[in-house]
Symmetry: C2
Subunit: 298 residues, 2 copies
DNA sequence: TTATTCCGTTAGAAATCCTAACAGGTACAG
DNA sequence: CTGTACCTGTTAGGATTTCTAACGGAATAA
């Protein structure tokens, strides 16, 4: 049981705010005795005294002050729930989203139609970027980033782990050349994004010593390798997220099962005050939902 | 009754997160029927359907998604309460506070000893400033500002309204000259901060047409006028907050009752994530407390 | 089709919460 | 000092809420 008793917490917040059990009872439409009992329940549950009783007045202890601020803001945010619903059509307007170019170009664009269908009045402004400065910016509602989850001062949530594996176009396998074991890779162009580190790590993980360096083509980024791969140029190492749609559609296939897990995972990063912008909050929920119901690929 | 039923909200949050009443029941150690009933209570209370029931599975409605994000974050912050207490000595470290120079120089410095006594392990770094950029900065925990309360995207709380009235040193009244009616002001130096607008507005409010312009001394800011006033130089228009301590000590007196309410009030401005820094949260509570128990001056 | 799984809905049991009444401490006025 | 007013604490027992247990129905998969 991790949450403190919520009704006792409400009694505490009211009593601490008004500085009186009797007044708190008036506000909550109960007797002072009920407040007294609720606060004792909370004190027992937390194992600390929250008020010093002076006979005819009360005083917050240090511990009481420490948790009052949290209780106050937490309950205040819950108070917004009925208000949000009363406004009705809050899920509209523009949501500003910063996402890595590869993610924005593949996974996200393939899902946009579904997003629009679910939230017809919401418009997305996508910023393709890996810049961490946008995480700190007040102008950006939501950031999607690859990393280790260490973004201090922000709410960070894991969306998905990332696995890398070789993929190629099915047409490539109809050219007569076989691609049944990793050794067969020697017959095909190897498509590298950036510096080719992803291939080094994959080849290393399956114990292959040949680094295929004389077959490598460097295409600059993952977006380009995936595109070249789809059009039958060669074999690329693709991430589980970017390739998911193409694998499902049959536009790409995985010649081998072997994959390597990257040290970076995909995270969604938001400010705490995102809840005040219902459209952005709904978008966060949409992302969480999409990745929760997606079958994990490795 | 403004808050939705809290235990029902917890059931909803769990069910929405797990996508199942049965699993939510497992997590909360109750049967699925209990969850079902709690969620119906919440739906009745809010007047909207939160889930679409499909017979053997559930799906969040738009309204359900809209409030899930708020409920999730609100309850999550309440979960921190037991953790904060477990750590025990969280009320320590440095709190960075930006406050207007006049406020920092008078009210705050007079209260620092009391603050230190209450929180011996807390150190304050005071930035005397009126710059609104600090309100947006992540490096500043708490901002105190005069204004109208319009600081979007931040938690803003009124600390006190501000009244302006003439004050002078008691010694000034022992020089033989009398100061019993506003007309007697002609015999004394008039101390103006900045552009002297405060005197214009006060003189206007009591219907005095003479603006005493040939007696005015311009000292640059309110800090200087108050100091000069304490040392018997003349009569200054002082704010209710800055002068409170000196009035109480008898170092300053109010020759007349008339005061004028300023359009700006004193606010305390924080980010939503201040709760994660217990020392800063305690400091906010300390400010709120100080101004709540202070007798209003006008 | 059957088996399975999950949700809905009851009645009644269990747990919780609240009230009412009295006791005791503090503050302040007379 | 005494009396009054105003708090809070603490009970027992009643009122209310919440949960369980058991059954029925809808969707899903084999």
């Amino acid at each position: 049981m991790r949450l403190p008793p919520l009704n006792a917490l409400r009694a505490f917040e009211t009593a601490a705010r008004l500085g009186s059990f009797t007044l708190a009872g008036k506000e909550l439409h109960v007797t002072h005795g009920a407040i007294s009992q609720q606060i004792r329940i909370l004190e027992t549950s937390l194992g600390v005294m929250l008020f010093i009783r002076h006979g005819n007045r009360i005083e917050l202890t240090m511990e009481g002050m420490a948790i009052y601020e949290i209780a106050r803001r937490g309950l205040k945010s819950l108070e917004e729930i009925p208000q949000i619903l009363r406004q009705g059509d809050m899920i509209k307007g523009e949501v500003i989203l910063s996402a890595p170019p590869g993610f924005a170009g593949h996974w996200l664009t393939h899902q946009l139609a579904g997003f629009h269908k679910q939230y017809p009045d919401l418009r997305l402004r996508v910023i393709p970027s890996n810049d961490d400065r946008e995480i700190q910016s007040r102008d950006v509602d939501i950031c999607i980033r690859y990393g280790n989850g260490a973004w201090p001062g922000r709410t960070v949530e894991l969306l998905s782990d990332i696995y890398l594996f070789p993929v190629c176009s099915p047409q490539l396998l109809e050219t007569g050349k076989t691609l049944e074991t990793p050794a067969d890779l020697r017959q095909f162009p190897i498509l590298c994004a950036d510096d080719g580190y992803e291939w080094d790590s994959w080849l290393g993980s399956i114990g292959m010593t040949d680094d295929l360096s004389d077959q490598r083509h460097y295409l600059g980024n993952a977006l380009n390798t995936t595109e070249a791969c789809r059009y039958g140029f060669g074999v690329a190492l693709c991430g589980s997220i970017s390739s998911a749609h193409y694998l499902q559609q049959g536009q790409l296939v995985r010649p081998f099962r072997q994959s390597v897990r990257t040290s970076n995972s995909l995270f969604i990063i938001t400010r705490d005050d995102i809840v005040h912008k219902a459209g952005a909050a709904a978008t966060v929920g949409w992302f969480r939902n999409k990745f929760a119901q997606q079958v994990p690929v490795d």
